[in-house]
């Protein structure tokens, strides 16, 4: 039986959902769009959409996956307008230390690309990897992934969703989810080195 179809008796009113899930939505938004400012706006928009749309949720898990889906769509829309992402990134460069931002991330990616490039010329990739690892936290490494991979990694590792659930959240076939996860892990592995176990 589909877990999302199970009825439950918990309070599914918008206010209750805000209390239970706004932190999750906020974290997903920060992780996916890499900007705390934008994420705050997205959280507001997601819950306003919830009120306007009034979807009939079967249970709390269903509600949460709906909220996450809308969050990701909002992030997607934000990324479509390059203007907002660039402006907010620049703003946060000076002020906000909480999240990473795309500009810095891009620089890091290029830096790490350059580093690994040089290293390969010197036949010492390990040194380059250690270097990049020092520069980048786990979170920043995830932020450097392309948006879809970022979303999947976040939903899988933070929200503990399974492949089928991620597929319904990002509205893609599960094969695509698997490949996003696989590629995401592979790139994280390139950036972070051997330190972490991705299977657990």
């Amino acid at each position: 039986m589909n877990i999302l179809k199970e009825k439950c008796t918990c309070d599914l009113s918008p206010a209750a959902l805000v209390k239970r899930h706004s932190t999750s939505v906020l974290r997903a938004a920060v992780a996916i769009c890499n900007s705390r400012y934008a994420a705050d706006d997205i959280v507001q928009n997601v819950f306003l959409q919830l009120v306007r749309t009034q979807p009939a949720f079967e249970n709390d898990r269903h509600a949460k996956s709906w909220l996450l889906r809308v969050t990701i769509n909002c992030c997607k829309d934000l990324q479509r307008s390059a203007w907002s992402s660039k402006v907010s990134s620049l703003d946060e460069m000076q002020e906000n230390q909480v999240g990473t931002h795309e500009l810095a991330t891009k620089h890091n990616v290029i830096a790490s690309a350059g580093a690994s490039h040089n290293a390969s010329a010197e036949h010492d990739p390990e040194q380059a990897l250690a270097q990049t690892e020092q520069q980048q936290s786990v979170y920043k490494a995830v932020a450097s992934l392309p948006p879809y991979q970022r979303s999947c990694i976040h939903l899988f590792y933070f929200e503990d969703l399974n492949i089928a659930e991620i597929a319904s959240v990002i509205e893609q076939p599960s094969a695509t989810v698997k490949s996003h996860l696989h590629r995401g892990r592979k790139k994280l592995h390139t950036i972070l080195g051997e330190e972490y176990d991705y299977e657990a």
């Binding site: 706004s22 906020l26 479509r80 390059a82 948006p147 972070l192």
Partner: protein, 836 residues
């Protein structure tokens, strides 16, 4: 505690993200306020919002755009409401005026709304009476009047030290100055906009005794009559070469650059020979060993630190106001880097160019050049030679081991010096030659369409890349070029211009008719097409250049009405050039600007809405024509009446049949039979929403189309669209399947066929779209199916290319952080990933 799993590490970091103190409270407040506001409003409003909220912002945007478009059309209708019973063609016309901002903007200032109304009636009456239906015998108005029937390129009479060339440049210059002066006078006197554009009749400097129209002609005619040698052996030898190589060393099966003509290479940013991959990115030119799916970077070539100094000709020292920068090593020249390359045997040919900053005058010298590398050892590429031409590169092609560069060379008037041919003759300089190699005078031709002459050349250079690389031949045509098409035997230069057909009955001094021998038959007096109305329109000059294995020989030119979409609008088969043009007619109304054509069209039609002092040019209608031309570029046959008021978006010649797509609001796919060049026959027309910008043959009588979806009513564009047409019966073309990619709007492949990989054998359709690289397959029952949707790492306009070698598919991202990702075919399992 040091986290040992990625999950814990990631969770720890994410959990640091907390809502602000009052964020939750304010969020609940906002939600409750919204709830309150909604319960207060009517149910219809709620359902409307509901539907809006459910759709993604993307489709919401599209809806907005549609409504905006509908509003536009609505305005158009309002404007046309004084006229009763609107017809289809008029509706389309009005929409032009309301949606095509540039026309509206130009004319609203010029004539105002009353004149627009008048124009509408005028153009409508013309359109409804003139438009031929597809298949009607060709009676192109422009063919009947004003178009030159002779298209001979003039040979410059042999002289000493380019004296004749110099004299002709003098005349071109004098004529240009005269034109400028007249245009300025007219502007000052009447404020007219368009005579400057269409040129005025100031060709008096071209007296009948000009050598190029009399003497030159006959000489050249004799030249062309001479039998041409069979150039086929070149392509044959190239083919046998490659097949021999294939036999020797079990060549892998790999995808090459997507080219128009088999046997004619086109330059691209990525090349492979099946063993090694050559990629151009911000990192420079990277050479990778494919290594069965685990690619390794062997070496990287940087433009600035290899090989020889830059070799500008002696003239550049005087000519360039910035000669210090152009003179030194080319590393100083700003912005120069390799742009594209060719791969042929063990030669790698990298193209580069130095172009002007946008805000500087176009008359500063520009440079285009090639570096030739020996890559028999790909880990140590060896620089063999380099060639530079002065000018901006139009395009390039390669047949066998012969490279053809076509560039446009402007002559700087201020420094033109009779005693120094390098100041006014195109030349090639090379790292292995000390002196610049001037184009021989016998290889310089003059375009017959003297009204379009400027002091610029089209410079064609053939370079033999075998051995150390050497100049095979060079030729120059006085007259510019915008684009080119190359078959295995000939090069066709394309240059856009205008034609001007004066009103019937007036003195025929149109700028479109430079030949003293007169033009084709003028229209009869009862020809309603022209009446006493001045007509002008866009035109394309085609010039045929024979290649003869590197020995360039410029042949005839022909000006055709209309413009060419891109290289796919041309095709040469059995010596017959087939070409598709879209001709937009402009009509002169009101008082004639240049003193000719005294009758205003308003009186002709019996309306006097336009005040006498208002005059100008108005776009009349667009018509698409398929032409067939022989080796002398004489028109054999033509068929028109396609895509009325639409633009050509793509074309593909497949044997005797050409399929082409025109578009404004809806996408007709036309099929025309050209098996009898004298009588092209209309076969079929398929109307579907959207349009295709690139057509590629699939197997089993199918034709693949890559384009955009569009609203049927407004023509507003939607997402990318893949279409598969069944052309097994050209008389009844049908659309088998299509797929609209709503999430994707832009693709490099829309304008660059080298960015798309279409391979029916492997069942692969791969192309970049927005920030993704998409790979689709096609199934006859189920249609297009997504195989892989690969997000690109760098965002923005990153060039991406896909290629396969045996069972490995490589996706190259060649932007700021270049990388390659390898997948296994056919499962598309990830195999490897490296940074370049």
């Amino acid at each position: 505690m040091k986290p040992n799993t990625f999950k814990n590490a990631y969770k720890q970091e994410i959990e640091k993200i907390q809502p602000h103190e009052d964020q939750l409270a304010s969020l609940i407040h906002a939600v409750e306020a919204e709830e309150l506001a909604l319960t207060g409003s009517a149910t219809t409003a709620q359902s409307a919002q509901q539907s809006q909220a459910q759709s993604t912002a993307d489709s919401a945007q599209a809806q907005d755009a549609q409504t905006a478009g509908a509003a536009n059309v609505g305005q158009g209708w309002t404007a046309s409401s004084p006229v009763s019973t609107p017809t289809k063609s008029r509706k389309r016309f009005w929409k032009d005026w309301s949606t095509e901002g540039k026309f509206t903007a130009t004319f609203s200032g010029l004539v105002g709304a009353a004149a627009m109304l008048f124009l509408g009636i005028l153009a409508w009456s013309t359109v409804t009476t003139v438009l031929p239906s597809p298949g009607e015998p060709s009676t192109h108005p422009a063919l009947q009047t004003g178009l030159p029937t002779e298209g001979m390129v003039a040979l410059i009479p042999a002289g000493n030290d380019y004296e004749n060339v110099y004299a002709i440049l003098d005349r071109v210059r004098a004529r240009d100055e005269e034109r400028l002066r007249i245009a300025q006078e007219q502007r000052e006197s009447s404020g007219g906009l368009f005579d400057g554009i269409f040129g005025s009749d100031s060709d008096d400097v071209w007296a009948d005794d000009m050598p190029l129209t009399d003497d030159g002609w006959t000489e050249e005619a004799a030249d062309v009559e001479a039998p041409t040698s069979a150039p086929d052996d070149m392509s044959l030898s190239a083919e046998s070469d490659s097949s021999a190589r294939r036999l020797l060393s079990e060549e892998p099966d790999f995808s090459d650059t997507n080219v128009q003509v088999q046997g004619v290479q086109e330059a691209d940013i990525i090349k492979t020979d099946g063993h090694y991959i050559y990629a151009l990115s911000a990192m420079g030119l990277s050479i990778l060993e494919a290594n069965g799916g685990n690619p390794q970077v062997l070496s990287t070539l940087d433009f600035h630190n290899n090989s020889t100094d830059f070799h500008p000709g002696p003239s550049d020292i005087q000519m360039s106001p910035r000669n210090t920068s152009a003179r030194g090593t080319r590393g100083i020249a700003s912005g120069a880097s390799y742009s594209k390359m060719y791969l042929e045997g063990d030669r790698l040919i990298a193209l580069w160019s130095i172009t002007n900053d946008l805000w500087t005058s176009v008359h500063f010298p520009e440079f285009a050049g090639v570096d030739i590398f020996d890559i028999s050892d790909p880990s140590q590429p060896r620089h063999l030679n380099d060639f530079q031409t002065r000018g901006s590169l139009v395009n390039s092609r390669m047949i066998g081991s012969t490279l053809y560069l076509v560039s446009t060379v402007w002559i700087e008037e201020a420094s033109r010096n009779r005693n120094d041919p390098t100041t006014f003759i195109p030349f090639v300089s090379s790292g292995n030659e000390s002196a610049p190699m001037l184009t021989p005078e016998s290889n310089i031709r003059i375009s017959p369409y003297v009204d379009e002459l400027r002091t610029k050349y089209t410079h064609i250079v053939a370079i033999d890349t075998t051995r150390n690389g050497q100049l095979a031949s060079q030729a120059a045509l006085l007259g510019g070029s915008d684009d080119l098409y190359m078959s295995t035997d000939n090069l066709f230069l394309l240059s856009e211009g205008q034609i001007h057909i004066p009103a019937a009955g007036t003195q025929g001094s149109g700028t479109g008719n430079p030949s003293p021998r007169g033009s084709g038959s003028s229209s009869s007096s009862d020809d309603i097409r022209l009446g006493n109305v001045d007509v002008a329109g866009n035109a394309t000059t085609v010039t045929r250049v024979e290649l003869n294995d590197g020995q360039i020989d410029i042949g005839n030119s022909r000006r055709l009405p209309g413009i060419v979409n891109n290289q796919f609008s041309l095709d040469e088969s059995d010596g017959v050039l087939r070409i598709i043009t879209a001709f937009t007619r402009w009509e002169h109304f009101g008082r004639s600007g240049s003193g000719q054509g005294t009758t205003g069209s308003s009186e002709e039609i019996g309306l006097s809405l336009a005040p006498a002092e208002e005059w100008g040019w108005s776009p009349d209608f667009t018509d698409t024509t398929v032409w067939t031309l022989d080796e002398r570029l004489e028109v054999i046959g033509s068929i028109d009446g396609f895509g009325i008021d639409e633009d050509v978006y793509s074309a593909r010649f497949m044997g005797d049949i050409v399929y082409f797509v025109t578009f404004r609001e809806i996408d007709p796919v036309y099929a025309v039979d050209l098996s009898d060049p004298a009588n092209p026959r209309f076969l079929s027309e398929l109307k579907i929403p959207g349009f295709s910008e690139y057509l590629h043959p699939w197997h089993d009588g199918l034709l693949f189309g890559f384009g955009r979806d569009a609203c049927e009513i407004t023509g507003i564009r939607g997402g990318l669209k893949l279409s598969m047409f069944d052309i097994s019966n050209p008389k009844d073309v049908t659309r088998e399947h299509y797929l609209i990619l709503d999430d994707f709007r832009n693709s490099d492949a829309s304008s660059n066929h080298r960015a798309i990989l279409v391979n029916p054998e492997r069942n692969l359709i791969a192309f970049p779209a927005d920030d993704f690289y998409l790979i689709y397959s096609y199934n006859e029952r189920r249609g297009f199916e997504l195989v892989e949707e690969l997000p690109l790492i760098s965002e923005g306009d990153t060039p991406a290319r896909g290629l396969f070698i045996d069972d490995m598919f490589y996706v190259f991202e060649l932007g700021g952080s270049p990388n390659v990702e390898v997948f296994m075919l056919p499962s598309f399992r990830t195999w490897d990933f490296i940074w370049l």
